[in-house]
């Protein structure tokens, strides 16, 4: 066999191995997605808040806790959660003709990165938002002008929760965008 043919044979074997391993990674990535997403218990999201930012701002806290069980074959890398939280209320008689206007006040906007969740591991992470993390808003104005007959008077809403991560050795990246998610209410 000529040298050039031998080199080409080696190249062919190398490319075959590369393509086969890529196909295996793709297949296992898809199968992992099926394993993780197929069972509701593998992803657990719990949002809880304590206190009242109007009457007891020092003890006010929003806690977002999530647990992911990575049942797949690869590590879940570069996990990042981005959030925009809003306070929703009705401004009583805003236009002067007796019409209430729903107001959306942004109280929080930030993102947080988390450690890699290794294959086969279950990890619990949480984001805690307290009064210091909140954007500066005029709480008195909200207290005065909010429609007290509305049920609930004030709501906490996540306008956007964006969860980003990479899988299959970083070859597949995904983004989950949750919109208009109700966190809780006051009054």
């Amino acid at each position: 066999m000529r040298t050039s043919r031998a080199i080409r044979l080696i190249m062919r074997i190398f490319l075959l191995l590369l393509a086969s391993s890529m196909s295996l990674v793709s297949f296992l990535g898809g199968y992992s997605a099926l394993l993780i997403l197929g069972n509701e218990d593998n992803i657990d999201l719990d949002i809880d808040f304590e206190g009242d930012p109007f009457t007891d701002p020092l003890n006010f806290e929003i806690e977002i806790e999530f647990e992911i069980y990575n049942m797949g074959y690869f590590d879940l890398e570069d996990l990042n959660i981005e959030m925009k939280l809003y306070l929703v209320y009705d401004w009583k008689n805003k236009t002067g003709d007796g019409t209430n206007v729903t107001q959306y006040v942004k109280i929080y906007e930030d993102d947080k990165s988390f450690k890699t969740i290794e294959a086969g591991e279950k990890k619990k992470n949480s984001i805690t938002i307290d009064t210091e993390d909140l954007l500066k808003i005029n709480l008195t104005e909200i207290l005065i002008y909010s429609d007290k007959t509305r049920d609930p008077v004030i709501e906490f809403e996540a306008d956007e929760i964006i969860i980003k991560a990479k899988y299959s050795l970083g070859l597949i990246s995904f983004k989950v965008k949750i919109e208009d998610y109700k966190l809780g209410d006051l009054g």
Partner: protein
């Protein structure tokens, strides 16, 4: 003399039949890997549920993805038949192998222009989920680029050494 000719003729007939079977076999493999598996995958994704929430791939985008999958899947399988049913080290095999590899590049690229590179699903009553496969596809493109170089070299070799290859084939030995 005529006995030798008959022997060669029978040998060539057997080789032709063997090549045809090989051609059908590889065409079937390509049909499964480039058309049936991706088609089933995208159909499965459409009916998937995440955290008990139904997901829905946009109908228009789904149709575009399936159209390009079927179009390129069929062409690649067709060329695979011609490439693998051709005699080993023939110019015909070299040409069809190279066409097949280039078509594979287009097939992968079709994932981009059909929208399958960044697939967006709707999580009904919750939001959206986007899956980006560009890194994976680019790596595959790299592998195919190296394959194109290899096939081009093969083709040049088959053309330059055509007489030697034919002589070796008649003798029944491998070059």
């Amino acid at each position: 003399m005529s006995f030798t000719k008959d022997k060669i003729k029978k040998k060539l007939e057997r080789a032709a039949a063997k090549n045809m079977v090989r051609g059908f076999f590889f065409a079937a493999i390509y049909l499964v890997t480039t058309l049936i598996i991706p088609y089933m995958t995208f159909s499965w994704i459409r009916s998937l549920e995440v955290e008990g929430v139904e997901i829905d791939i946009y109908q228009k985008r789904y149709k575009a993805i399936i159209y390009w999958l079927v179009a390129f899947g069929l062409i690649i399988s067709g060329t695979a038949f011609f490439a693998y049913s051709s005699p080993a080290q023939s110019i015909r095999r070299g040409v069809f192998s190279m066409i097949q590899i280039i078509l594979n590049c287009f097939y992968l690229w079709s994932y981009k222009f059909s929208g399958a590179l960044e697939v967006e699903f709707e999580l009904i009553d919750l939001g959206y989920m986007t899956m980006n496969l560009s890194q994976l596809i680019l790596l595959y493109m790299g592998i195919y680029f190296l394959s194109v170089i290899l096939k081009a070299y093969d083709l040049a070799d088959f053309i330059v050494n055509r007489k030697k290859i034919q002589a070796a084939r008649v003798k029944g030995g491998k070059k």
